[in-house]
Symmetry: C2
Subunit: 339 residues, 2 copies
DNA sequence: GGATTTGATGAAAGCGCTTGCATCGACTCG
DNA sequence: CGAGTCGATGCAAGCGCTTTCATCAAATCC
């Protein structure tokens, strides 16, 4: 081993540059307080030593860590990917590092991750949706850690959030479905327990149907975790049930794509024999045949603006604001009108 | 504001439990050294105060951080999602926290992220593929930080890696394509610069074609970043060129799906008029119509085993080993034989 | 039963950095 | 030209934790 793994410290840099550690620190953090001359010497010392500030030490003496945490339910399907990617890019531009954790929709793990991020000094945290145990919010407040909720927006909730109204969007989509003449509706919903987005989407459908005077007892609803195969299986169950629906509304695109796929395998024509709708407007929705009728959500915009707002909260110390983004119903070939 | 944001410290816990800070520390980290009695008191003090160890402080005095970093090119398309998800899950089981960064295939940003993770005390780092500037490897070695490469495997490279042989896999797929009678081949490759996976996949094709005696000058190759629309555009260019290929081989499934989509838009029948192949075997490949002929990679297994190996390296201090995983060619409807 | 071991705990020294305060020339001002 | 400013720098006190070493009482041994 040629290299002695002596990680260089501030003091080493100071020695090489012939100044005090304090001056090195200032050169790195507030260059304006240091003379051009010294700055140059320090810079070169840093280079030759390959010095990297020790994050732990910095974290201990300074308050800020320039780190933002994000906790998402899953990375596996693409629902959050685009938004988080945009979130990360914007944060990077703003000089922050993003730490991501995912928890497979498990609230226990989520709570644990909040603590982990807090103890790692996250200056702010991004969470998905509203629902979580009260103690998590308590903890965040007690620790005074700014947080922002994303992928959801509820006008009647004071917590700072950026997203869209899942209920209203789905309501609208359902209204569209009704307008096209469908009365025989089935639903494949994501797991609603502990998931306010899924819950609200389902609510959007049931409310709309109720308003339209459709008896909900006749509307089969299957709940299942977001996954292509689950969507497929649920679809099969619905289509082999007592009464075939004319349209299957799915809680998100992943489920819908599963449904679509199983339809093909079963030789059921879409949309001729049955229509299918999704939600989210992820890539998956536009590459399948027929394209999915879905609700398009501005993922990238959401990610970017979430970054802006969270950083604003962190840097200004002000309370977070909420932003409602608009979603857009995109009617594609996976649905047809009933004549 | 009701809550004074006084984050409780070890000392606070000590005071409440009526013991010394040292004892609290031991209770938390080496319970076996502490009496049952004391342990109980400390535990309850921790609970009532909602104490969370200060990561920075811990990092400063201890060596381990129980943190693993992963640096991936992108979260946006699903190539890495499944593998990283499995990686994270396994790490969680092993008691480690995962920090993820993505860099949009920018080597500068990657280098920066390696430093960021190092200064944050990552006990080990997962990187994608072999190629990166020598200084990055130097840095890692000098800092004595265990690292593992994933999504690639090259028998002739000593760096610890877990993955598959991109060149060999693509060679095999290409051989299959030739077997089916295709001689008029076009390629849509991912950007090869700075990307050894893309480079090797392309090499797999060209080598195979060379062996088959096909003049590479007649093989149009378009290089473009991994993105559905880029795949679509490249496909269109190829199909409107001087001589239509009978098969378009794509560097990954994302490009292939783009190609497939544009084919549909252009009214070109797949596989009747042109065949299309992908690489990776992500979900996208199996939901499109026709299903994509592709090379399936064991993403989840790779993620899990990467976690195991990296943790082993960290905990044992031993050098990393390399693992070649096998990939599997999956022939689906997107390709047809030339008679 | 005195000497030694053992188990449980405390005291205190850092770990590498930031920052308030002190210092000290060099300048400015009246 | 002496007093007050100011810009640049150093000194040193922590930040919250881990860990070595010392301490001390109880248990063990010959």
């Amino acid at each position: 081993m040629t290299s002695q793994h002596a990680v260089p410290t501030l003091e080493d840099v100071a020695k090489v540059a012939g100044v005090s550690p304090a001056t090195v620190s200032r050169s790195l953090n507030s260059p304006s307080l240091v003379s051009k001359e010294t700055l140059k010497r320090v810079k070169s010392a840093v280079e030759t030593l390959g010095y990297t500030p020790h994050f732990g030490a910095r974290f201990m003496s300074a308050k800020r860590t320039m780190t933002i945490g994000a906790i998402i339910p899953t990375m596996e399907n693409a629902i959050f990917a685009k938004g988080i990617q945009a979130f990360q890019e914007r944060l990077h531009d703003l000089g922050y590092t993003l730490l991501i954790s995912s928890n497979s929709y498990d609230p226990e793990i989520e709570a644990e991750q909040v603590r982990a991020l807090a103890s790692r000094g996250a200056d702010g945290i991004l969470l998905i949706g509203y629902w979580r145990e009260e103690k998590v919010y308590k903890f965040l407040q007690q620790r005074n850690i700014p947080f922002l909720l994303a992928w959801a927006f509820a006008a009647n909730n004071a917590l700072p959030a950026i997203g869209f109204d899942n209920r209203a969007s789905m309501y609208q989509l359902c209204a569209q479905v009704l307008t096209m003449g469908h009365r025989n509706i089935a639903v494949i919903s994501g797991t609603t327990e502990g998931n306010d987005r899924a819950t609200n989407r389902l609510k959007g459908i049931t409310e709309c149907l109720a308003v339209a005077g459709i008896n909900l007892e006749n509307v089969p609803i299957i709940e299942t975790p977001y996954d292509i195969d689950n969507g497929a299986n649920a679809f099969e169950k619905l289509m082999t049930g007592p009464k075939r629906p004319s349209v299957v509304m799915c809680g998100n695109d992943v489920l819908a794509v599963g449904a679509l796929q199983r339809a093909q395998e079963m030789g059921i024509a879409v949309p001729a024999e049955v229509s299918i709708t999704g939600f989210d407007g992820i890539e998956l929705a536009r590459v399948v045949t027929p394209r999915l009728t879905t609700v398009c959500v501005p993922h990238s915009e959401m990610g970017r603006r979430a970054a802006d707002e969270l950083v604003r909260m962190v840097e200004s110390g002000e309370a977070g604001r909420s932003f409602e983004l608009s979603s857009e119903i995109k009617v594609e070939k996976s649905i047809s009108a009933i004549i």
